[in-house]
């Protein structure tokens, strides 16, 4: 360990002001603080400090994403082999995982390289330390992408999310919208055909031009299928094993969003460590469920009649509730605000799904909408605090 420290100390002057590589100071600093917690001591205020820092917080979120990621990799392989009718390969868990790993890894690498590259450049130009926020965003972006998304599109959307979504506002902690969702929204609106419909959710369908697929194959996500059935005026919908499949996650969808169980393991980690707000998570689920129940009461088509809790299992609902809505920067900051914010996300997501047939997945836009409204919600909560304080003056007088 000593040798490593000595080595770092030896090369450090090169990166400081006046050094050969002073333009890479932020980059060096990021790597140095990654290796060693700096020897900075407190000089103002509290002399002792809690040992938590942003690196610890962010790494916990990344760890919480691992179950969803690992299952996502497996599911990529599974969906692929099923689509091409390779029953033997589909039952080989490790084989499926390996196939998925090779498909997903490049997306992760592209997301991190592009995102961190931009972050390093901005940190350097501002003279700031590199913020850890992108460690999480860089993992979230691949998980909300369909597996067949072209890599250049991942790169472009990541760049958009980091620059327009985050850096123009001043970096991590200042952004209004969740960067990962912004990346997803960018792909969705800029390259709609690539991220919707029936072709993109299973690996290699686009490139094979549909050859070799099993008869009657539909790559549609369950949400699309239900939505289409409802629009066509179907009297009933064969749910089959869908609830169980979506619980486990063996359905087509974005890489990380399919398995309710894997996401819940992540949720458990986040809630247990207290990194994410249980208030938001709970109220998103409550909002979604109650909206579903409301539609059940109204009734009318298969979508409205769908048991309310299916909404929580299907699509990106759980993933959004656990990992996106709880982003502390873009969510509501106040306690009361969190309940309102979460509830509206859940309710609007389900509303969009059921009422708007052209748009089967409501979670992404619902969260982005509430990201925009969160400061407004907080404003009124804080105003209430100010009113309480001012009322005290009147009573005193």
């Amino acid at each position: 360990m000593k040798e490593l420290r000595n080595f770092v100390d030896k090369i450090k002057p090169n990166f400081e002001k006046g050094g050969k590589f002073s333009k890479l100071h932020s980059t060096f600093d990021a790597f140095e603080t990654f290796l060693f917690v700096p020897k900075t001591v407190t000089n103002k205020g509290a002399h002792i400090r809690d040992c938590i820092d942003m690196k610890r917080v962010m790494i916990v979120v990344v760890v919480a994403l691992m179950p969803a990621l690992l299952f996502g990799m497996y599911n990529v392989g599974l969906q692929h082999f099923r689509a091409f009718g390779d029953v033997a390969a589909a039952s080989d868990i490790l084989g499926c995982f390996w196939f998925g790993l090779l498909k997903v890894l490049p997306i992760i690498i592209v997301s991190y390289v592009v995102g961190l590259g931009i972050e390093f450049a901005f940190a350097q130009s501002r003279g700031h330390e590199l913020s850890e926020g992108f460690l999480v965003s860089g993992m979230l972006i691949p998980l909300v992408m369909p597996v067949d998304v072209p890599l250049w599109m991942v790169a472009v959307s990541t760049a958009f999310a980091v620059i327009i979504g985050k850096e123009v506002f001043g970096g991590s902690g200042m952004n209004i919208f969740n960067p990962a969702l912004l990346a997803r929204a960018f792909v969705f609106f800029a390259y709609t055909p690539f991220i919707s419909g029936e072709k993109v959710w299973v690996a290699d369908i686009t490139s094979s031009k549909g050859e070799g697929l099993v008869d009657g194959f539909s790559g549609a996500t369950p949400l699309t299928a239900i939505s289409e059935a409802a629009t066509a005026g179907a009297k009933s919908f064969d749910w089959g094993t869908l609830p169980m499949d979506s619980l486990i996650g063996t359905i087509p969808g974005s890489i990380g969003e399919t398995s309710f169980i894997a996401i819940m393991i992540g949720a458990a980690i986040l809630l247990y460590t207290g990194v994410a707000s249980w208030k938001i998570m709970l109220s998103v689920f409550a909002g979604g469920y109650l909206m579903g129940v409301l539609f059940n009461l109204i009734g009318g088509d298969v979508y409205m009649d769908m048991p309310a809790y299916y909404h929580l299992l299907l699509g990106g609902f759980a993933f959004g509730a656990v990992f996106m809505a709880t982003d502390p920067v873009t969510s509501a900051q106040t306690c009361v605000g969190k309940y309102i914010y979460g509830f509206l996300i859940g309710a609007i997501a389900v509303l969009t799904r059921v009422v708007n047939p052209g748009y089967p997945e409501g979670m992404m836009l619902s969260i982005l909408l509430l990201n925009a409204l969160a400061p407004l919600i907080d404003h009124y909560v804080v105003e209430a605090n100010i009113r309480r304080r001012n009322r005290r003056v009147k009573i005193a007088k």
Partner: protein
């Protein structure tokens, strides 16, 4: 008796090296000093020069902005030095004490007959006025104000804090006299906050409104108590005084002598023998804590507690508002992959570490910042450590934006640095909240003047 005020929010940080309840009387220190920067907003104008002979109670300087406010020598002796810094700023006025202490004799005032103004004049002349702290802003009280009430806390909850019950043993007579003085100063009530379970020690005190508190730090902070008893509104002023200083004030009104003797705790993981000592305010730190009393030499000495005290060198002097000196290890070392390690020897309120599994474990926390400064990212964390109806992050952001209206609306009148110290402690973004708050208060004072 009054109801118990239970504070649910807060945190007791368990540190190693709490003071043992043994009292040693230290020999006279080689030097005593009054340090103007211990008093916020005071610009000193000297009344003595080097070589002058002074008694305990002789004024050394006054405040240029409030010439009535005198600062007196805590001991009798000879003015040894006036140490100056940049631009000839006066840093400290050092007095070498006599072997036998002489006290300037003041007239003993009959409180029953004296008017409010006469009592104020007496306190001003004795040099004890700077003990009166006003809220808002935590600065020396202005004698032209009529405080709505006066608040005294009888207990401290900060890490390694002195047990005031131990310190104040046998002082009830002086405290009672002090309370009688305070009652002359306000038309409102004098409030005394008690810690649940410790009420009996102050049973005999009367003329005060007693309130019993229960809860973790910062329950002992007088600001938190004010907020939960009778919060400060815009335009209102209340005064506070440390209870040991109140005893000194009471003693002065009984004897006519300024006797700044104090009992203080010296505590911290790096001390060989954490204990209570009796000293005189202004004593050289070296006479209290020196190389021999520490386990190792890379330490930080703090005038006050580790959350909101002021760091002081061994050549510094004991500050007037504090009842403790803390000695903790400096943390100026690198830690390989520290943020990824289990860190069983460090403390965190976050469950991302494991200290929550060992609630009774005590820690030797050092001064490492444990990370780099970042913008505010987490939410909902800070409120848990401030038992007030205030949104600390919104207040801090209003200060950073220098938005005076917002600061006022969000409660800047009700807090001083020590009240936000826990928020600063738990902050993963490592933002200097206490400093920002003081900057905001300074801006407010400027705006209102």
């Amino acid at each position: 008796m009054s109801n118990i005020i239970k504070l649910k929010r807060g945190l007791d940080i368990q540190l190693l090296g709490a003071a043992e309840k043994t009292l040693s009387k230290l020999p006279m220190a080689a030097h005593y000093a009054v340090v103007p920067s211990d008093y916020i907003g005071v610009t000193p104008k000297l009344l003595v020069k080097v070589g002058d002979v002074v008694m305990a109670g002789t004024p050394l300087f006054f405040d240029k902005n409030n010439p009535e406010v005198l600062f007196v020598s805590p001991v009798s002796g000879v003015v040894d030095a006036v140490n100056r810094g940049d631009k000839r700023k006066i840093l400290e006025i050092v007095v070498t004490p006599d072997v036998n202490q002489e006290y300037k004799q003041f007239e003993i005032q009959d409180l029953a007959k004296a008017s409010r103004q006469e009592v104020i004049d007496t306190i001003l002349n004795s040099g004890l006025w700077p003990m009166m702290i006003q809220r808002p802003f935590g600065v020396i009280a202005s004698m032209s104000d009529m405080p709505k009430a006066i608040f005294v806390s009888s207990f401290e909850t900060a890490p390694l804090a002195a047990d005031l019950n131990f310190i104040l043993e046998g002082q009830n007579k002086n405290i009672q006299k002090g309370i009688d003085v305070l009652k002359k100063l306000t038309e409102g009530k004098v409030h005394l906050s008690l810690l649940q379970g410790n009420e009996a020690a102050f049973n005999e005190l009367n003329g005060v409104e007693k309130h019993t508190f229960a809860g973790a730090h910062p329950a002992g902070n007088v600001g938190v108590q004010i907020h939960n008893i009778d919060p400060i509104n815009k335009g209102e002023v209340v005064w506070t005084i440390d209870i040991q200083n109140l005893a000194i004030l009471g003693k002065f009104f009984s004897t006519g002598k300024v006797d700044m003797s104090k009992k203080i705790a010296i505590a911290g993981s790096e001390l060989i023998e954490p204990k209570y000592v009796s000293i005189i305010t202004g004593a050289a730190i070296e006479s209290i804590v020196n190389d021999k009393s520490c386990k190792q030499q890379n330490v930080r000495i703090i005038n006050g507690n580790p959350l909101s005290g002021k760091s002081v060198s061994k050549s510094g002097y004991f500050a007037p508002y504090s009842n403790q000196i803390s000695v903790i290890p400096e943390g100026d070392n690198y830690e390989l992959f520290g943020w990824a390690m289990p860190r069983l020897q460090k403390f965190s309120v976050s469950r991302t570490y494991f200290s929550w599994l060992m609630p009774s474990k005590k820690y030797a926390l050092d001064t490492n910042l444990n990370g780099g400064e970042r913008p505010f990212i987490l939410s909902g964390l800070y409120e848990k450590y401030l038992p007030m109806d205030i949104y600390p992050v919104y207040l801090i952001k209003a200060i950073i934006a220098n938005d005076i209206d917002k600061m006022e609306n969000l409660g800047i009148y009700e807090v001083i640095e020590e009240d936000l110290a826990l928020c600063e402690f738990v902050d993963p973004s490592k933002i200097e909240m206490q400093q920002i708050l003081r900057d905001g208060i300074t801006a407010m004072i400027k705006e209102l003047s």
